[in-house]
């Protein structure tokens, strides 16, 4: 098993003809993801790589292409509308890769998607990968293989680092999910923890957090109250100065709130093993498997 995506995932790529969209569509197809449609307004009727039909609208991609999941690679100015278009078309899972979307746009798009009963992952996220089954987004396919660990993270390349180290140690994953580094996003740590708890093949969970906000602290309390599976955590930004946005819009220590120390303490207080270095995740996961 896996969470959120698997062999039944039928993907529409919004922005399929753009530079990033076309590159990653090829990568997803190579991995085995079932890409059933692409959307680029004005290019309806063409095909991508001679086999994926391109539509003008997501509605058509759902009705004619049978898409149930979408991935968005459109520029920040149009991304929030693209998210809401996918929700209007009845897409169940909407994965938004775009970085740099105004926070106010996300504050409007998020409740819109929720009211349509869809799930949004991101924005500003690397997407997700269910090892050996399907990948949606930009996570490189070669860095992991099927195994017993579920991973949820705010960061892309830090995720790659950790799962690659796990693979080198012979440990694979069920699903790796990047929830993104924006202050307002669609899917939380808690949503993913709950899904991993319910997934029989996931035996242990890795949670990679960073400075800023209280998501990690809330997730830690959730772990203690609701999870039977063991969780191993890492927090990036122990050397980050307060008041500065560390790349991710959400990665900022406000006053004395949202520090790495505070989050590491919350992990410890709630029975989550804390890795000092990304490499230490491997040893801690071995202990709990």
């Amino acid at each position: 098993m896996s969470i959120l995506i698997d062999k039944s995932t039928r993907l529409v790529v919004q922005g399929i003809t753009g530079r990033d969209g076309s590159f990653h569509t090829r990568q997803m197809m190579e991995y085995g993801t079932s890409v059933v449609a692409g959307v680029t307004p004005g290019k309806g009727g063409q095909t991508f790589e001679g086999r994926v039909p391109i539509y003008n609208t997501v509605e058509k991609a759902v009705k004619e292409g049978g898409a149930n999941t979408s991935v968005i690679y459109v520029p920040p100015a149009f991304a929030a509308d693209a998210i809401m278009e996918a929700a209007d078309a009845g897409v169940q899972l909407i994965v938004c890769i775009t970085e740099g979307i105004p926070v106010l746009d996300m504050a409007r798009a998020r409740p819109y998607v929720l009211e349509k009963g869809a799930r949004l992952l991101g924005a500003n996220c690397p997407g997700l990968l269910s090892a050996g089954k399907s990948k949606v987004g930009i996570i490189p396919g070669h860095i992991t293989e099927p195994g017993p660990v579920g991973l949820v993270s705010k960061s892309g390349t830090l995720t790659y680092e950790v799962v690659f180290k796990l693979k080198a140690a012979g440990i694979g994953t069920t699903t790796c999910v990047g929830i993104g580094g924006d202050p307002i996003n669609g899917t939380s740590f808690i949503d993913c923890l709950a899904a991993f708890e319910a997934d029989p093949e996931t035996k242990a969970i890795v949670m990679l957090g960073e400075i800023g906000g209280t998501d990690e602290q809330e997730a830690a309390a959730y772990v203690k109250a609701n999870l039977s599976k063991k969780v191993v955590g890492f927090i990036a930004g122990q050397t980050a100065p307060p008041g500065r946005r560390m790349g991710h819009a959400g990665a900022i220590i406000s006053g004395s709130a949202g520090t790495a120390e505070e989050k590491i303490q919350a992990f410890r207080d709630n029975g989550i093993g804390v890795a000092q270095r990304p490499l230490d995740v491997v040893g801690l996961i071995r202990e709990v498997l």
Binding site: R19, L104, A107, I138, Y160, I184, G237, T239, M246, Q276
Partner: protein, 380 residues
């Protein structure tokens, strides 16, 4: 992005909020002239991107134009929390009957804009929030509809008893929300919102923080940026499309991805070094970005070693390798470079680097250890 008080006040005036504006001076003479024009007592206020200006001595009352000149003389050039005061605002001194706080922030926990108002104004709202949270009334706004008239009125009744003042405050709150949206702000506050002895409601001081993600579509707000109040290397980096934050150490870091960049800094510290910077070259790398990154990092004389940590996903490691080779050909770099790269096009990258005389490592911990050894002199 932060903006100055006088700019924040202009954003309020643009929405029709009554603000005694005053004028900005960069010399003591200008300050005296402005005070003479305004007539009566004035307040001389340092324009720097930080709070606590009053406590630091950056806000002074002046009863005469001559006094305004003297106070401006003292404040201009002053250091407040490491920032040099280049401008002062000369504002008419207001007669104050009462002070309140009103603000709207983009709140992560509520995932929406949240208004905060308090009849206890002129204060540090974070301090009140921590010590006396009941003194603050909060209200979550649905950003699809904005601050509704009845919500604005409800908040106003928390501040004032007089119907006339309640109506005035409700109008100001809606105008403040309009300014918040128009400026793409993550925070917009009026502190204090005062009543005069005649019962008029006025905004005396304002603060805005702007969501950087809004700037691409708000050129008029981008134009408010004051590069003189920022670290020059950070301005340079932003113009080159890089996210760079200067720190105090001597291990220069070039990383792709914010999370990995933070984890790399942490690992430098773990192995006994101190990072000189945070630098994320972003996802879709091109060699030019790497050239700029090296130029910016080597402009810091403290840097003893440069550490590349690249996990190629979208980032192609051969682009990074080409950037390193190009940059070092353009201008030789006299500190050692430690390169760790793995992922997309790794074989091509290693070939490019070795042909140019560089060696590359594949393990992050080994590379960080090596960089720290070189920075502390133990690796020589």
């Amino acid at each position: 992005m932060n903006i100055h008080e006088y700019q924040a006040k202009e954003l309020l005036v643009a929405q029709g909020i009554p603000v005694p504006m005053g004028e900005v001076a960069t010399t003591a003479e200008q300050a005296g002239d402005i005070a003479r024009r305004l007539g009566g007592a004035v307040v001389v206020k340092a324009q720097v991107h930080t709070g606590g200006r009053g406590k630091a001595g950056g806000v002074k009352l002046a009863k005469t134009p001559e006094e305004a000149r003297e106070k401006a003389q003292a404040i201009l050039g002053m250091q407040i929390k490491g920032l040099t005061v280049e401008k002062v605002l000369i504002a008419p001194a207001a007669d104050i009957a009462s002070e309140a706080y009103v603000g709207v922030i983009m709140d992560r926990a509520s995932k929406a804009p949240v208004f905060m108002v308090s009849a206890a104004g002129g204060i540090d709202i974070e301090e009140v929030a921590a010590t006396n949270p009941d003194a603050i009334r909060k209200l979550v706004v649905d950003p699809r509809y904005g601050l509704l008239p009845h919500q604005a009125y409800l908040l106003a009744t928390e501040l004032y008893q007089e119907p006339k003042q309640q109506r005035a405050a409700a109008k100001i709150l809606q105008q403040l929300y309009a300014a918040f949206v128009a400026a793409g702000a993550s925070l917009a506050e009026i502190n204090p919102l005062i009543t005069t002895p005649e019962g008029e409601v006025r905004a005396i001081d304002a603060k805005f923080n702007i969501d950087d993600n809004e700037l691409f579509r708000l050129p008029a707000i981008e134009a408010l940026r004051d590069p003189s109040s920022e670290e020059p290397a950070e301005v340079d980096a932003r113009e080159a499309g890089l996210t760079f934050i200067k720190l105090d150490g001597n291990v220069g870091c070039v990383v792709n991805g914010a999370g990995l960049a933070m984890a790399t800094m942490d690992l430098v510290k773990y192995y006994g070094g101190e990072p000189a910077n945070f630098l994320d070259i972003g996802g879709s790398s091109n060699p030019e970005k790497v050239v700029n990154a090296l130029r910016i990092i080597t402009s810091d004389p403290q840097v003893k070693v440069i550490l590349f940590n690249i996990f190629g996903g979208i980032t192609r490691t051969d682009d990074v390798a080409n950037g390193i080779v190009t940059a070092t050909r353009q201008s030789p770099i006299d500190v050692p470079i430690v390169i760790r790269l793995t992922g997309t096009n790794e074989e091509i990258a290693v070939k490019i680097l070795s042909e140019a005389g560089f060696s590359a490592m594949t393990d992050m911990d080994e590379a960080v250890k090596r960089a720290v050894e070189l920075a502390t002199g133990e690796g020589k």
